[in-house]
């Protein structure tokens, strides 16, 4: 580059606005066409891609849900044989948890966090590109195995010994275990990026007490991921070892332990529900503040609730194992924490209600989704406290009561806020407004459809209907409710359909949105919609927790970053005082090739342990090119 010859490089304040924007555009843009597609490291392009992919998995998983409901609508139906039913509920659960819920929440963070903290790209952008390709590969692995009729059939938590070498024939359980490795790898990568972005790349002035609540939730979630995910990766790897090379981690005959699997799985599995729920909390707070036209009541209690929930989430896992014969006293310790976690949750709900109460609420679609959340999540929370009690859980374990409970918290607690959030940020992402009328229809249909579908499942559970059964006899008397549930599922599906149609249409024909159509207070609305490749022409300077609601005519900005190479501002963890200018990586094809090499290694290792040895060679080569130094100074103070 010729500009590198200049002594200090070209800075933004040396150019007028138009020339500055043009230079930034040249520096940060992603080339068009296939080359750009595979080489981009722009967090917005990757985030969008992540979100779209996750929603495709939601749709596929939803179709499986409907297929199960078709099978269960009548007693002794014969649409699915037991083997296929086993594969379908396993696919549904694994797909929804690992390919939809966790990734979609992280994807929202990938897109929004850099914009909300006022920086130009996420930290470790190439790792971000890598994580997407790895996630996609894991998803394809699972769905291709399903298409080939060899999908996992061991349930979404794949308990041993069912999934072990003795009972799990073929490669089905290995595919499940390796899908885990893919998705957790990508989740860990994103978590690291988010932690660094939030702690070191905040706009000057955005001290910890001025961080948007959504950014707090993503930060806390990222830490939960970093603490929880290694447990499941260890579990799935040990399972593969047991199955492939004859280790005995889970084989009691040789000194292994079956319950070890459950401990490892749920040490991850319970925090996972908070990995899904905490970002939703951030979305709710954001939407509530914008549409009540006031900051969320109680910033400190809200952050406390986040951190407290995230901590306690690590001491609840045995509540999934109440029926395994552990000493009751030991179980009591987990009931205690399961009850204590109601304190931060209650605090949160209280703050939200006060926010609405003292605000001037404008009831647009995103806020309506939040109201749908309130109602649904409170029911889910109450049934949660019920099954946290050992005697009750002993009765209800593995019945449809539990299926009802976790759909109330997953769909009510996370999917409703997510749909609201996607509707809310859609104008920022695409520059176009979704239709309010269709939006309202989607809220009404999903809310009513959801409750009609899942509420009766509580009753079925109380009547003794167990989960994961492919059919039941007419004498059980469950036929009527099951038919009702199955018909209601169609209403729910229609709601999702309206949601997709609305956004699909708006992406093409929606009204232009402008920078800040909702009058929101946070920084992502301080730039164009959709944002330019460099996010902000000048780095904003923050003077309060809701910069766009301050009475200033123009947002104050910091200048001095170079425009002829990718540069960001690094700031201090506590008070976000500027510390250094740091270069941000350029586009590269090597994250893609590294992901391909990793995929080949991981998939082959299902078949032979030697794949780990030989597969490491191409990975090492790809990583070498990825990290090849370019002889540029990395940072300047």
């Amino acid at each position: 580059m010729s500009s590198d010859a200049r002594p200090r490089g070209l800075r933004d304040h040396q150019l007028d606005d138009a020339a500055g924007a043009e230079a930034l555009e040249r520096t940060w843009r992603t080339p068009s066409g296939w080359r750009g597609f595979f080489t981009t490291v722009d967090h917005k392009i990757i985030g969008r891609r992540y979100i779209v992919t996750a929603f495709i998995f939601l749709a596929l998983g939803g179709i499986l849900g409907l297929v199960m409901r078709l099978q269960l609508a009548w007693p002794e139906a014969r649409y699915l044989d037991p083997d296929l039913y086993n594969q379908i509920f396993t696919m549904h659960g694994s797909n929804m948890m690992f390919l939809f819920a966790v990734p979609v929440m992280e994807a929202m963070g990938v897109y929004l966090v850099p914009l909300m903290v006022g920086t130009r790209n996420i930290a470790f952008p190439r790792l971000n590109a890598f994580s997407y390709w790895i996630y996609l590969a894991g998803g394809l692995l699972l769905w291709i195995s399903f298409a080939l009729g060899m999908a996992p059939d061991v349930g979404w938590f794949a308990y041993v010994p069912l999934s072990g070498p003795q009972y799990g024939a073929g490669k089905r359980a290995d595919i499940w275990a390796q899908m885990i490795t893919f998705t957790e790898l990508s989740a860990l990568a994103v978590a690291v990026e988010i932690v660094v972005t939030v702690l070191k790349q905040r706009a000057p002035g955005m001290s910890l007490d001025r961080m948007p609540l959504f950014v707090w939730t993503m930060l806390v979630t990222a830490f939960v991921i970093i603490l929880a995910m290694p447990a499941i990766m260890i579990a799935s790897t040990s399972l593969i070892l047991d199955r492939l090379v004859g280790t005995h981690f889970f084989n009691p005959a040789e000194g292994g332990d079956v319950l070890l699997w459950q401990h490892l799985f749920w040490f991850f599995g319970h925090p996972e529900v908070y990995i899904i729920f905490l970002p939703a909390v951030g979305m709710i707070s954001t939407i509530l503040a914008t549409f009540s036209r006031r900051p969320v009541f109680g910033y400190e209690p809200m952050v406390l609730a986040l951190v407290g929930t995230a901590l306690l989430a690590f001491g609840l896992w045995v509540h999934h194992m109440f029926t395994t014969g552990l000493p009751r006293v030991a179980e009591g310790f987990f009931t205690a924490s399961s009850m204590a976690i109601a304190v931060p949750s209650g605090l949160q709900i209280f703050c939200w209600i006060v926010t609405l109460w003292y605000g001037r609420p404008v009831y647009r679609t995103p806020l309506l989704y939040v109201l749908a959340f309130f109602f649904t999540f409170i029911i889910g929370g109450m049934t949660g406290v019920m099954v946290a009690s050992v005697p009750l859980d002993t009765q209800l374990h593995d019945t449809y009561f539990v299926v009802a409970h976790f759909h109330y918290v997953l769909i009510g607690g996370a999917v409703f806020p997510l749909l609201g959030a996607v509707h809310y940020w859609f104008p920022k992402i695409t520059g176009r407004m979704p239709s309010e009328r269709l939006g309202r229809w989607s809220v009404a249909l999903t809310f009513i459809g959801f409750n009609l579908t899942f509420f009766p499942m509580h009753l079925l559970g109380l009547q003794g209907m167990t989960r994961r059964i492919y059919t039941y006899q007419a004498e059980m008397g469950w036929g009527g409710l099951n038919l009702f549930v199955s018909l209601s599922a169609l209403v729910l599906a229609a709601g999702f359909l309206v949601f997709f149609v609305n956004l699909g249409r708006a992406a093409r024909h929606g009204e232009p949105a402008g920078d800040n159509p909702w009058g929101a207070p946070t920084l992502e609305w301080a730039t164009a919609s959709p944002p330019p490749p460099y996010n902000f022409a000048m780095i904003p300077v923050v003077r309060s927790a809701h910069p766009l609601w301050d009475d200033e005519e123009v947002l104050p900005v910091a200048s001095g970053l170079r425009v002829d190479r990718r540069e960001l501002l690094v700031t201090r963890v506590t008070d976000a005082r500027p510390e250094a200018r740091e270069s941000s990586p350029r586009n590269s094809i090597w994250p893609f090739w590294s992901a391909v090499a990793t995929t080949i290694m991981l998939i082959s290792s299902i078949f032979t342990p030697w794949a780990v040895v030989w597969g490491a060679v191409p990975i090492a080569i790809a990583l070498t090119f990825w990290f090849w130094p370019r002889g540029m100074p990395e940072e300047e103070s």
Binding site: G205, S207, L208, D209, R210, E300, P301, V303, L304, V307, G308, L311, L312, F314, G315, V318, G325, L326, P327, R328, V329, A330, E331, G332, F333, F334, T335, A336, S337, M339, A340, V343, P344, T574, D575, A576, R577
Partner: protein, 114 residues
């Protein structure tokens, strides 16, 4: 950072560390000690959460105290510190509550119930 600064940060962070560490120990001990409770007919698993709750509450108090030593100025770092310190205090209390609830089990059960 001055020595005084370092001191108050240490107190504030005590609230973040002591409570969670005690609670992690209590939770883990709660899985191990009930077998001993049953054998010895004495609630070994009771003192751990009780002591943890006491320590955690004490750390909350320390974090709260560190708040009072804040300069009351308008420097940016002070507001961030106030947030960290009061969170430390509240976390200590929350985990003390969790450990008090944990102590109920060994008070009413012998450890032999399965």
């Amino acid at each position: 950072m001055t020595a005084r600064d370092r001191n108050r940060w240490a107190l504030a962070l005590a609230g973040w560390l002591i409570g969670p560490v005690c609670w992690a120990i209590a939770t883990q001990a709660g899985q191990i000690l009930p077998y001993a409770d049953c054998r010895a007919q004495w609630p070994w698993s009771l003192p751990v959460p009780l002591a943890g709750a006491a320590l955690s509450a004490a750390s909350a108090w320390l974090a709260w105290r560190s708040l009072a030593s804040r300069r009351g100025g308008t420097r940016r770092g002070d507001a961030a510190f106030a947030l960290v310190a009061s969170l430390g205090a509240m976390l200590g209390l929350l985990l003390a509550l969790a450990m008090l609830l944990q102590a109920i089990g060994p008070m009413v059960l012998t450890g032999c119930e399965r």
